[in-house]
Symmetry: C2
Subunit: 149 residues, 2 copies
Amino acid sequence: MPPEHDVPSIEILAPLCAVFRQRLKAEGHKYTPERARVLDAIIERDRVFQADQLVDDLKDSGFRVSKATVYRTIKLLQDAGIIQRVPFNQDQAHYILAYGRAPNDLLINTDTGEVIAVSDPELEAIRDRLAKAHGLRAHSHRLQIFAAK
Amino acid sequence: MPPEHDVPSIEILAPLCAVFRQRLKAEGHKYTPERARVLDAIIERDRVFQADQLVDDLKDSGFRVSKATVYRTIKLLQDAGIIQRVPFNQDQAHYILAYGRAPNDLLINTDTGEVIAVSDPELEAIRDRLAKAHGLRAHSHRLQIFAAK
DNA sequence: GTCGGTGCAAATGCTTTGCATTGAT
DNA sequence: ATCAATGCAAAGCATTTGCACCGAC
């Protein structure tokens, strides 16, 4: 039985790069080394991250990027639906890899910062019921569960 | 039949003032006109608010407060459990009156921006089940339902 | 009268932007 | 060769803080 999470390079990393590249081209933007490396860093981290962590991670791996470029790339990745901002209460913005997941229901390990996408069919029922009770129709939702060992 | 939302002074406003006053005294703080008026403004608004909106509301009603005092009062009200920060994706912090409510489950009217605190016992069960399925124990959660007419 | 509170203005810290230079196409 | 992207430093903006004066207790 092959390991499930040790080989993201083929199944996850490559397609995401392609998605990003394609999206950039479609918008008339360029696929630069900086943008590729920022996405790499996000994929390698694979947990909630902040802009300056990417700068640090990349610097540690010997690649210098400016904060400005990281922030600009983060915006592009959001537009492409590859990452999503997580509504934390903190001042600094937090993001997660969102592409190809059900990014609305998140289980967040508060010890490690690891984020697991979860889902539950009942949830939709509850959400619809709560909205209807107030005369509204739900069109989306977000759930964050904070948990630890 | 009396109007429902025009008489908060007796049922809601008075107790909250008392709670705040009592809490301030317990912590060795003072109950000042500024702090009273900030809480008034929050109660009158009775929807999601931001710090600078309170400054404006109070200025409109002829009461001048500094931003600094509003921010300091917001912190005190959070500590007292009277308001809570709402986890939005925006840069500016949003808060709601939370006292005596279940502030973790929010129904957000995307037409009007109105935020309604809701709750559902099943939700806790789902959250606990999802956490347990990943070997974790949930300690809190947040749900935001986006809905419209 | 004593401290804690207030307003102001300056400081902070994350994020954005202007501009000259660099580089992907 | 062109036009967008980059890095840097400066600007922006919400929030916090230092300090002199003020006022609730």
